[in-house]
């Protein structure tokens, strides 16, 4: 239904140059998560500077969690307020679904972006769907994430290639491994990855939200997690509450592995000096879960032209390559390699991969789609029932 309400059709009708013209001298407010120093710096320095230089646009980054952004937009929507403050919002997954269903987003707009048409593989499942939700042009891809395991080579000789090897390794090194308890985002993804590794992923893609059914299917995985529990950190009596905590435990050498949904995480953490330089990312043979994160424009953005220009810029090979550089951020590009000119290919080729990071092609080759969003809470619930935390 959101399609019918498409608020501003006239912008799409204008040609790109007039958009560029209109965007000149404006400020674009970019709202999104602000918890990473590197990401913040990349936007504040590189993106900001380039937009100013090339398009005379001032970029104003506002660190705000997506939950808060949605609450804000919902309130504005209720009044049908036309004067929003957000021009671009960094979003994906269920939040995107909520936003789209409530008509909080402007669009579809991606087809207006020259770089989208030129560089993005518009037919790719990862671009068309976001956690199983159809994108329908309401958000433009921004970057890709993929679950990786990170281990310390100084302590682990051979990284496990599947869940069985992981078990063996953990059994031989009791107390040196753990994972964040769901509903932590990364912890939950790790559990799903174990499920994929044990029972495969295909059957979930259009499974309905029936707890019993899901429980039946994932039982072998739960048995595995129960089996491994006694060898975990603190004998599995307790789990880190957040992945941040696990990272810190890894940084402090309390455990020898950590998990991340950002394949470049290891490099930036080595860069900041938190992780030991012997850290190395690795994945399972059968692959790990990946997702794409996107940029959207709220329905009431006051500077839609500026937003389009900025998003278009972010989809340029230049920007994506800069973003891919672990020195800057290290986020996986969303552009289709096949659509690059040689010069553009070189941009990516020249990026020096960060320490401990897996190359892009290996990652892409072992990339599994996310489970549909509605199944995730069910799996988390089942985990909680099966793998009890011990206490009083």
């Amino acid at each position: 239904t959101s399609r019918d309400e498409k608020p501003t059709a006239q912008i799409t009708a204008e040609d790109w140059n007039s958009i560029l013209e209109k965007a000149k001298g404006t400020t674009v407010n970019f709202y999104g998560w602000g918890g990473s120093q590197k990401v913040n710096e990349w936007i504040d320095n590189y993106v900001s500077r380039k937009l100013k230089e090339e398009y005379d646009i001032i970029l104003n980054r506002v660190p705000m969690d997506i939950d808060d952004i949605l609450n804000k937009l919902l309130g504005e929507k209720q009044l049908n307020s036309k004067e929003g403050t957000i021009d671009i919002v960094w979003i994906n997954g269920e939040n995107f679904f909520t936003a789209k269903r409530n008509g909080l987003l402007f669009g579809p707009f991606v087809d207006d972006l020259p770089n989208y048409k030129k560089y993005v593989d518009t037919e790719s499942i990862e671009i068309k769907y976001d956690f199983g939700f159809p994108v329908e042009g309401y958000e433009a891809p921004y970057g890709k994430a993929q679950l990786v395991l990170i281990g310390d080579q100084a302590q682990i000789v051979q990284f496990p290639r599947n869940h069985e090897e992981l078990f063996e390794m953990v059994k031989n090194n009791p107390g040196k491994f753990t994972y964040p308890a769901p509903p932590d985002f990364t912890g939950s993804a790790f559990v799903r990855n174990i499920i994929y590794d044990i029972v495969g992923y295909k059957q979930f893609m259009n499974m309905e939200a029936d707890k019993q059914k899901v429980a039946e299917v994932i039982k072998p995985a739960m048995d595995y997690l129960k089996k491994i529990k006694p060898y975990l950190w603190q004998e599995g009596k307790t789990y880190p509450a957040t992945v941040a905590q696990l990272d810190n435990m890894y940084a402090d050498h309390e455990v020898f592995m950590t998990i991340s949904y950002n394949p470049n995480h290891v490099a930036s953490k080595i860069g900041t000096g938190e992780f030991p330089t012997t850290s190395q990312a690795f994945i399972f043979e059968k692959g790990t879960i990946g997702n794409t994160h996107f940029l959207a424009i709220p329905y009431n953005a006051t500077n839609k032209e500026g937003a389009l220009v900025a998003i278009n810029f972010l989809l340029s090979p230049k920007a994506q390559a800069s973003k891919y550089d672990p020195k800057n951020w290290g986020d996986l590009p969303v552009l289709d390699n096949g659509k690059f000119s040689d010069e553009e290919k070189k941009l990516f080729h020249d990026v020096k991969l960060g320490e401990g990071v897996l190359p892009q092609d290996i990652l892409l080759a072992h990339r599994l789609p996310e489970i549909p969003a509605h199944l995730i809470p069910i799996i988390e619930e089942i985990w909680q029932e099966n793998i009890p935390v011990e206490g009083e």
């Binding site: 407010n29 709202y31 998560w33 602000g34 918890g35 990473s36 120093q37 913040n40 710096e41 504040d44 320095n45 900001s48 506002v62 660190p63 705000m64 969690d65 808060d68 609450n71 804000k72 309130g75 504005e76 209720q78 009044l79 307020s81 929003g84 403050t85 957000i86 957040t242 992945v243 941040a244 905590q245 990272d247 810190n248 435990m249 940084a251 402090d252 050498h253 309390e254 900041t272 000096g273 938190e274 030991p276």
Partner: protein, 267 residues
């Protein structure tokens, strides 16, 4: 004398408990690596402070704005609270106990629940995304603190001194400025401090009503804490804490010096 020693020891332990975390945070804000069982960090760095002081991310300007905002909130909250607290503290009426409790409701009412409505009304009166909108919304969780604290002070203090002032020819304004206010001083400091802290730490309300137009220090700090980047979190926390402490100490100093003597209340 033995008694005094015990007191001193307990007191110092207490002090240590207060200072130790601050010290740890200070340490972390320079720490690159600090492996688990070690007593001291292994490597230091300045990444956090470099980021903080980098003008491109505006941290210091934001800090200034936050201080200004919370100071304004503090003054308005106190101004509103004094008459309310006086009515609650001095007058007797039915259901007083109930109202004294009800006044705490805005702290309890999970801000989110209320803000559902507030945000909408703020948009409709044009207060959303403005400085004064944020000030007003901060007042909601702040006023209960100041009203309750000042109510206590009024209750214990009574109004005999105010009456005495009136007898000596002071009109209401004069009574307020020359008697009520100075006698409230300790309560004012506490209430003001708490309001400042609550306002300075507001995160969600500022987001919602400030809409990203009014960005406060806690808004830029929070994501770092959540993401577990200990150095950055510590740097921001450090600044956050010390700013607050410095301001509260100045408030205390100013009020005290303005009203000279301390503890003039009791024999």
């Amino acid at each position: 004398m033995g008694k005094n020693m015990v007191f001193k020891i307990i007191f110092n332990i207490f002090l240590l408990l207060l200072i130790f975390p601050l010290f740890i945070i200070l340490l972390w804000s320079f720490t690159k690596i600090w492996p688990w069982p070690d007593l001291f960090p292994k490597a230091f760095g300045l990444r956090g402070f470099q980021y903080l002081l980098n003008p491109s991310n505006n941290s210091l300007r934001i800090l200034g704005l936050s201080i200004w905002l919370s100071t304004v909130v503090m003054f308005i909250a106190i101004l509103i609270s004094i008459p309310a607290a006086k009515a609650l503290g001095l007058y007797h009426f039915k259901g007083k106990g109930f109202i004294k409790t009800l006044i705490l409701a805005p702290i309890v009412v999970p801000t989110v629940a209320v803000t559902m409505g507030i945000h909408v009304s703020f948009i409709s009166v044009g207060l959303a995304n403005t400085f004064w909108g944020v000030v007003i919304v901060h007042l909601i969780p702040c006023i209960p603190y100041s009203v309750r604290i000042l109510t206590d002070v009024f209750e214990i203090m009574g109004n005999s001194m105010e009456l005495q002032a009136r007898i000596l020819g002071a009109n209401k304004m004069q009574t307020f400025f020359y008697v009520t206010l100075p006698m409230l001083a300790p309560g004012l400091i506490t209430a003001g401090s708490m309001v400042f802290i609550v306002s300075f730490s507001q995160y969600f309300l500022t987001f919602l009503i400030g809409g990203g137009k009014i960005v406060t220090f806690s808004m830029v700090m929070f994501p770092f804490i959540q993401s577990g980047d200990r150095m950055m979190a510590s740097v921001y926390s450090m600044v956050f804490i010390w700013t607050t402490l410095l301001i509260l100490i100045s408030v205390e100093r100013i009020v005290k010096s303005y009203y000279k003597g301390e503890n003039y209340f009791y024999l």
